[in-house]
Symmetry: D2
Subunit: 362 residues, 4 copies
């Protein structure tokens, strides 16, 4: 279902980049969860445009309002409607794209599908759509933390040609991630990444990268065999983020180059439970969580909208030169960190709830 994700913990987002508001309905959240706007706002602030020199200059306070589902600081078990007003829409910036589809953006495919063009071109293909995801993901994250102590932390692990060292073994926190504007907790790498992004910005260009995400304290047993493997649900959720082009879990593509005897995670006793000595599986075996941390990586292409001139074709097929106006991020990665966390939380909250009734007692 296009604008809904989840079976029991279900989220529906709405809103165009240049309409009155964006938001989400969270349906299926258990009752009696303590919740108010202060649980949601911090993640929206991390996603907010204009938070640093590395991001778009669009100015949005992105204050969330809770219209339903919460009374006196507790969830009611009913749908939680979350709304964020759009303040700084500038549809006029998109006049040019009425005649020229932006290369590698969704302007053309939306027009082919829907037979029209929204004020912002690709309608819901704006990064602004992710406001609803982040707000809803914060609710899911609160539920996961309160009931299961699940911790979800993502960071930028590559920008362009710069790869940070593997930090998945460390107990990274969101505060550590936020120590710099690029959201890479390895300071020397962060400096190089910042330079790459600033270089791209100066050239009117954009640059891609990779986000790594770790989910700790996920109980064993989550995820469904066959089609809804936990890894498959995460892949689905991550590839649904604008500009995401790749996903790998555990050893991923690199692990495919090895042999079973090197890649297998053998078992050892760990604090009274059966754990694995290594975690090349990324916390999932046979699609089901095994109690080790989930570890996955998401590749983002460089943002499609660039100020630099491109020779392309207009809707009539005539060759034209395009310089995109509008305010855009030279690198979406720093702001995508809370989006990755939100999508992980939505997947895990739904898995938690689906898992509850999978067996008779004992």
């Amino acid at each position: 279902m296009s604008n809904t994700i989840g079976i029991l913990f279900r989220v529906t987002t709405f809103g165009e980049s240049h309409g009155p508001a964006v938001g989400a309905i969270v349906d299926g959240c258990p009752s009696r969860l303590p919740l108010d706007a202060s649980d949601i706002q911090p993640q929206l602030d991390r996603r907010r445009p204009g938070q640093s020199g590395l991001t778009t200059s669009r100015s949005e306070a992105d204050q969330v309002r809770i219209l339903s589902g919460v009374e006196q600081g507790l969830t009611l078990g009913s749908p939680i409607a979350l709304v964020v007003d759009n303040a700084d829409g500038r549809p006029a910036d998109y006049e040019a794209i009425r005649t020229i589809p932006r290369p590698s953006h969704a302007d053309l495919t939306y027009r082919l599908k829907y037979g029209l063009t929204a004020a912002s071109g690709g309608g819901r293909a704006s990064a602004r759509e992710t406001v609803g995801r982040v707000a809803a993901g914060a609710v899911a994250g609160k539920f996961l933390a309160a009931k299961y102590s699940v911790q979800i932390v993502a960071w930028v692990s590559a920008v362009g040609e710069c790869d940070a060292p593997d930090l998945t073994g460390e107990t990274m926190t969101r505060d550590q991630v936020d120590a710099n504007a690029v959201r890479c907790p390895h300071a020397p790498s962060a400096r190089k990444m910042t330079a790459l992004i600033e270089g791209a910005k100066k050239d009117g260009d954009s640059v891609g990268g990779v986000i790594t995400c770790v989910c700790r304290h996920v109980p064993p047993g989550w995820g469904e065999p066959v089609f809804d493997k936990l890894s498959a649900l995460l892949a689905h959720a991550m590839l649904s983020i604008p500009a995401a082009k790749g996903f790998e879990i555990g050893a991923g593509f690199a692990g495919a180059r090895g042999r079973g005897s090197e890649q297998n995670d053998v078992f050892v006793l760990k604090e009274g439970r059966l754990g694995t000595r290594t975690n090349r599986s990324g916390g999932i075996q046979g699609g089901i969580s095994n109690g080790e941390p989930l570890v996955f990586r998401v590749a983002f292409k460089p943002a499609a909208t660039i100020a630099r001139e491109q020779e392309t074709a207009d809707y009539k097929g005539q060759t034209v030169k395009l310089r995109s106006q509008g305010r855009h991020d030279p690198c979406v990665l720093p702001r995508a960190v809370p989006i990755v966390e939100a999508m992980a939380a939505l997947v895990l909250a739904d898995c938690a709830m689906q898992h509850a009734e999978c067996r008779m007692q004992n």
Copy 2:
């Protein structure tokens, strides 16, 4: 939903590796599609164990029977029940794993989730579960070919450290792919891959790899914005295949290293329609097909079950040495080719049907 995939074109698979039968129900296939077992059997034959020296020696004819949904060679619009009997089950081979979970297999996670252990250990985590997928995928493939001329062709593009050159620009056919047992249509690479697999087999070991898949003639407009982007649905479907650990579309992880000005697919007039000069997007922009071929890659880890001795722990946590019995593939890649094609077909058939009503006429 654990054993079902799709919203309108829905497939539910069933069956354990060592029970009486495996199969699938295809629900939602349009009526009046010409269909009989000969449309399904060829793909099952490509997936069948024992087809070459590179695969497991388990012997299964895997003849499909159609129990419903088809009369006189035409689909009725009702559920198509597809059943394949298990002939060569050997639950006795799995006695050892009753006390020792296989490393990186699903034995432990299934036990943690379901509180018991199936004859084959990880229950539905057997490659045999994919019989139903391949049978159902063949029905989807027939529908896509008949109505839209969609062609889906996958091949092995890497085994271990051996990468075949990029062949996505060529008009590969399944016959060309089947020219050798490893299913890599680049003969020199195929020879190296064969040697790598035979080497692993000799060592009682296994080896991983990558499958590339191309879907041609996908009409523009398929896929849903936001959560059910076509790329997200493909990622979901591919990561649901046993042993899959990574997915990338178009330029994928490599593209994340570049700049927008290099990675963008600018538009050009192509046979009267607006096409892209390059296809780094892999045929999808904003989650919606753009009329170019879909191109994606799936990473498979080396098979977890190996004959070689592993030092691991049993269910009680005691260190033991395990040599897996049973008949297993040293490399799952050649047999996974029709599985990847099947999953792609299931996703596309469902997208085709969901797309039908997305706009008022004109």
Copy 3:
């Protein structure tokens, strides 16, 4: 899914009776449908409290705002967020029910399920929840009228012991239905019904009744065999309306008393198509529309909240006397007419979209 209905044309409602707002997200509506608030407001006005002496005195303007999914008077194909602010909430009226659950209301069952009590007692069990349904149903109705010329008209056919004569053969319009406050288009019956409602009101009591609904110009072929028969979907939708306790289609319960030879609808040629001489099937055979008008009836119990004293028990089980405060309808039927129409429209819009791809051409 608790607060969502529909598979392709999907509606999610939100909002408590005494929170900031109520509303709905309509997802899946095709693009390019002409739509603005004036398409929605008339049905909200028919549902609005305070519209006549027969309804609750709660005063709500119920002006709908469209937050997304529409630009320049056309739907975009993206989610349509519809919001109506609550103006006249009076949570204080519900102080008594914090200790005493209202008989036959949802106060107790919500507390048993959710472990708490909303300001309005039964949380979402307020008639105010139906604002979102009516707004969303108006969008569905616009789609059905624009694309298929479907007409949906409901009216009050019984109040208490007063049954209006069968009017299903006539070409009733909403204007005719609205000729009187009770919304029964048979004037002599309307007068009797009005007297019954006023009598109940005077006694601090409530009275039940029946609504009949006719859907004309529904194309043949809508509805799915087996579980999602059109009749089953309508029954589901109607029984989901607060206070609904019965549903029958065509001859319904009365037809169950007859013989096949009397009840069968034999075929005749009608304007070039095969029609039925009678319509005891209510327009549906085998769960699929046959081109005749859909005709069904919905029974509503008398409203549970009454001013008259009831001897009941409080949450501790002690016998108490309860006189409900708050502003309530002595008879929900007149205001339920647009709700029945809305639910019928939601079902039909979804069926229309699901039907599109059920067969290969010809």
Copy 4:
């Protein structure tokens, strides 16, 4: 979804009346439930044709085979495939209906929807489709009994003009219901009903009726507010049964004639919990079970296929006289009793599982 019901406890049925087999896949049943064919066969035997002189003479042993999901007498948590072979199909009986659609049957609507005609006319609209429902319902019933002690008992409460007295207050058992062939546990009424059915049979006619169903020991809290009220799910499930035309819960249509002060179920202390003095609500308030027995009634029209001559039209619109061949029930009610019980069990099992996670602890 046409051939699937349920969200967590999901059942998909398949099979045509005159194809090789019919059956169902039960997906989502918890693991470790004791289950074998003997749990399923008794309900199939109650549904089986040819069990008495009141039913069709078609001879089917209807022996169920379990193809998957169960090992050593315990469910695995994987899909349970249930298959029943068709033995006594006689497609030749349906030659006449290739040119003449049976009045009030699904022959015409299936042709209009699917563009062809199955061997049995209305394809899946045969009572034989319900084999899968009854088999799956038996699994659900076992789960409900084992985990919650839920008891589901239905009986024939009306045939034609003969109404049995209200027996819902008694602790009826299936054995008592089966004391006579008509399955009405009130002997004097059963005799009258038998005479009515035999009279209709002699006349080549059919007769309708009503089934009452009681579900005892349903825990409070089941059912979802708003669209998936327990009453709405039951209505959906019941109206999906072939020939069902009406549903009412508790006081139903009769209760709509009363006043709130008479109809309300006031609360009393019952064995330490808050219960209701009366049960006009039928065990459901605000869509959620309240701990009282569920009580509902389903109206069935007389079977459409009758031997008696009917003047109708053929597919070309020409007036013809039709006498249906084939073997059919003069009254579907006795065999529909286990079908009603099955559908109730499927709804309740799904509600039980959805309910599990609706609130944080306490």
